[in-house]
Symmetry: D2
Subunit: 147 residues, 4 copies
């Protein structure tokens, strides 16, 4: 690790989206829209089968995008490490996720040799993030050991 | 609420599966296999698109079944309340979820007028739950207000 | 609730500190230093008995200040409600809490009729919050029911 | 790590209490009452300054005993490792903690080379654990690296 925060993101949205497309034939949960030195912004347009009555995006789908945003923010902060794994994630559902596009932005608080910790906000439809939160989350990724 | 714990489950697997099928055209995350006075056992056979490289079930899919198990355990404990919503859930991923069938069992610790709290264990392939955990979770459902 | 975010904090540090002093003969975990429309900054100088070997502030003490910051941020956001109670809180410990003064800042994501959700950062010694985090947390307060 | 679960606890209450007394001049949060191969039972009689109005034990005090129970359960499961540190812990407060003696029992779900994961129940006054829960928690300890 160099100094904190890094001066610029260590991965661009293009690099992240390409990497994830190659890894997962099924496609990732979310598209990387933007990265900064310690954060990433992601979005997804939910598939019909993930909608609940009332056209509400299901909780596990929102969890999936929050988890994805944290993974991409880790990439932006320490470089692309596909083998980094979610260790734990806690999520609070704030209001029904109703709308067309779900956004999630993750900010990294700490990037250590063994783990990376961040917080996530999820909201609907506004790329600038001014909408009210539909969920917030916080969690830990474990980095692959280099021994 | 009557006495705690209730003497018998307030919903059978059949009642739960039928209710959820009617509610969600897309189908529920998991099938209810068994219920007790304060718990439910669920299972799912993951669809191909939820698998990650190495045939590992994705984290959000495991989260989805854990969440589902808690919902069904709430039904078993207080009766079927489809409008009960996940308020918060924290999950720890213990080991890669590799195998054919994912199981989750939720146990309710507390069922109050406003919220229900429970813990969940997830494991692979053994209906008797003797396999090692792939994930554990704990969380809160909020019950619909009756005013 | 009026519009979000409120235009100004609904409680000052003085009002908060006075209220808490009157409520708790034992004293609160933390002193309110500053409030904004949806946030509060708190600090504490740990007592000797809360220190672990190596002069590290104990985890439960850090948890206590994080919890306190969230309570004060709720006061700043919806007005002083001493009967608001922590419903759940998850905390990640980032690095040893070594230093003289522990700070915690809580930001509210959502303030509803029944619950208030926020995130907290904890760090050492720098009132401006530029130090590295010693812990981060996220959680929910339940508001007293008015029926 | 040998086989799971271990056949007998790797630390007795006496060994645990003696170790913790030697480490912390300020005293530990809780007394170890009993250990099993993958669990520990702890208790504490709260000091007056930890009580809130209504003689309720404060949330951070309950958190402290839950954290302590998880530490002791780790000792019982993998042997005494004082340098194991709480990585993250999420707690749900179920009802006011009113009474004389607080108990917490932690059960380990997973003990790996790098981390140990467990769940905790907290209740009042009944050494046999039949009382209703005042709080439940779940979390992760990180083990000291041996390299």
């Amino acid at each position: 690790m160099g100094s904190w925060p890094p001066a610029y993101p260590l991965a661009t949205p293009d690099e992240i989206n390409r990497t994830v497309d190659q890894l997962w034939s099924g496609g990732a949960s979310g598209l990387c829209v933007e990265t900064g030195p310690t954060w990433a912004l992601t979005s997804m347009t939910p598939a019909a089968h993930t909608l609940r009555p009332g056209a509400i995006i299901s909780g596990p789908t929102v969890f999936g995008l929050a988890d994805c945003a944290l993974w991409y923010a880790l990439f932006a902060t320490v470089g692309i490490e596909p083998m980094a794994l979610t260790s734990e994630l806690s999520i609070r559902f704030v209001r029904p996720a109703r709308g067309t596009t779900l956004f999630a932005r993750a900010d990294i608080h700490h990037a250590g040799r063994r783990s990376v910790i961040g917080s996530v906000r999820c909201w609907m439809d506004d790329p600038h993030g001014n909408g009210p939160d539909v969920a917030v989350a916080q969690g830990t990724y474990v980095r692959p050991t280099t021994s």
